[in-house]
Symmetry: C2
Subunit: 348 residues, 2 copies
């Protein structure tokens, strides 16, 4: 039972926001009573874990908060929502089994999408479900059910995922002395959002990073098989935010090295190096893996060969608390957690 | 594997609507590929079932579709959303273990709910979560996680539930000759909605039926222990609609006897007998149990003694298809499925 750890661990329910909201919702969740005996890991990590190794998580995608309909096709909206949810299984090193998708859809729900009805262009539900199914099948998961409602406002999708693992990896296993590693390259998804917000079209690479994120399921399972990983999370709140989740859950201090943060070429091209670093640190929604491991145990070359994906040491774990950024000029400075809401000013 | 049955079974994903939408979404779900070996029951019933007897379902509650904020307190909104979702576990005769709750909340999310901010009165998130937790704890379930987002429109909650059972009861086991039974009394929840829609206050009984539905978990588990139940569903789409789900899933015809439909006193008082019967048949959201059983095997007296809840035979199962209503004057007539959307004209 990890119940006793909960008050020290940030909750998945607080993904929304920095500061006070974070604390308030954490308190609300922390009121929860005793967990049933069949629950191995309760709220506070990327997912809950049940007896038998079943892993459960849920992820909400809201129009005009997480995406705009003018940015993505209906199929991409479904694909992205499902992939984002499945990424929480990667963050536990679990193998996906299935998902349930709830959709609240604006406008009339109608048989023929070509038909003219009221002023809402409508949502192509078939395409939306096709996207959900495509994302599920890409990781050998099935659509197990869901719910559907009319929405008097934005399009919303909530995707609950279920996977299984005998060795779930939590956020709270980082120890002083560990190295902190990240897969892939960061910031491209945020660069796409920036372009759209400025009325421009993102580059194909940046757009793809936003529209078709890849949950790093195989990569996570491989890393865990080799017993390298002490703490694991997916980068959905920006590198700084998710390093902060590991630091808080593990009761450690994390120092990120600015010069080592792997930045996507699409972000560098679009934003320049300084803003691209910001995108990587605070932009979120890259859905790469961030993990802590014993020093010297990670072999990035063999990982890169196997998966065609960078694996970069971005920092180190120390005694203390919080996330700090070492820019190379002077002492590391503390960094604040990120906000993932595209439509607000950054919360730092 | 029940996979082969799926095309004949109505999907949970089609709860929204009658007619064409129903068929379109069913087709979208039916495209799903092979189910993983660890999935025992896929989409199409009240819930999915995994190896080991884990049962999963999800249920969406959308402001101005399923409730209004002027009707319910934040705590009641949370309680009702969670109870509605947990009722799907009752519909499988599963014991609840936990739930994940995703909330999209309008307005700024703020620390102090008394603070004046913009024109949205805001949602008391602490109270909302209290309501969710209360509903969960009432059936020995725990809050296992969730997600939280700002909503640029209505308040929405999606509650994914997990339970377990070694003997899930599906919708497709009704056989010609069976009796059809329903727990409790129907129509009170719809009477409350009717009152609010007419600018009146519902009676306390009607309001309570809407605001604090009780998932019939113990009742379902007891009925299944005694091996009485061939097909089981919860009444969330109205008696006619949910009898229709059993009829379609089981490939049978169901005849409801109008004079036997147990109508709540609150509905009779508010609506008169004819409109109250309509509320029971088409109103939905009573969250009672509807089941088919071998004739002569159900003992309503002992059930009523144990649970303080009516158990009424409302109809019979025949060869054929569809749901028919026997009003006692002439031949039974076919009834159309219900729409559960309070803010539309009834879909029949």
């Amino acid at each position: 039972m990890r119940r006793g750890d909960m008050s020290d661990r940030p909750s998945r329910m607080v993904r929304l926001g920095p500061g006070a909201e974070f604390d308030r919702i954490r308190r609300a969740v922390a009121k929860a009573g005793e967990l049933p005996a069949t629950v191995r890991v309760g709220p506070g990590d990327d997912a809950a874990v049940l007896e038998g190794g079943w892993v459960l998580s849920t992820d909400l995608s809201v129009e005009d908060v997480h995406f705009r309909r003018s940015w993505l096709s209906a199929r991409e909206i479904g694909y992205r929502a499902a992939s984002a949810a499945l990424s929480d299984l990667a963050a536990m090193a679990a193998s996906p089994v299935g998902l349930l998708v709830s959709v609240a859809v604006p406008g009339a729900i109608r048989e023929d999408m070509n038909e003219d009805m009221n002023d809402d262009p409508g949502v192509d539900l078939d395409a939306l479900y096709d996207g959900v199914r495509e994302a599920a099948e890409a990781v050998n998961a099935a659509v197990l059910g869901g719910d559907l409602s009319r929405s008097p406002g934005p399009l919303m999708l909530d995707v609950a995922v279920v996977g299984c693992t005998l060795w779930p990896v939590l956020r709270n296993g980082a120890e002083p002395g560990d190295e902190l590693w990240v897969t892939g390259r960061l910031g491209a998804s945020a660069a796409a959002v920036r372009a759209w917000q400025q009325g421009e079209q993102p580059s194909p690479e940046a757009r793809d990073a936003f529209a078709r994120p890849v949950p790093r399921i195989r990569e996570a399972c491989c890393l865990v098989e080799k017993e390298l990983v002490g703490a694991l999370i997916d980068v959905s709140d920006g590198l700084a935010g998710d390093a902060g989740h590991i630091a808080a859950a593990s009761g450690v201090k994390i120092v990120l090295e600015a010069s080592r943060v792997p930045i996507a070429a699409a972000a560098l091209d679009a934003l320049g190096s300084e803003a691209a670093l910001d995108s990587a640190l605070y932009g979120g929604e890259d859905y790469e893996l961030l993990f802590a491991a014993d020093p010297g145990t990670v072999d990035p070359a063999s990982f890169e060969q196997r998966f065609g994906l960078d694996l970069t040491r971005v920092g180190r774990v120390f005694e203390g608390e919080g996330v700090w950024l070492d820019t190379g000029d002077g002492e590391p400075r503390p960094v604040a957690p990120a906000s993932f809401d595209h439509f607000r000013e950054p919360g730092r």
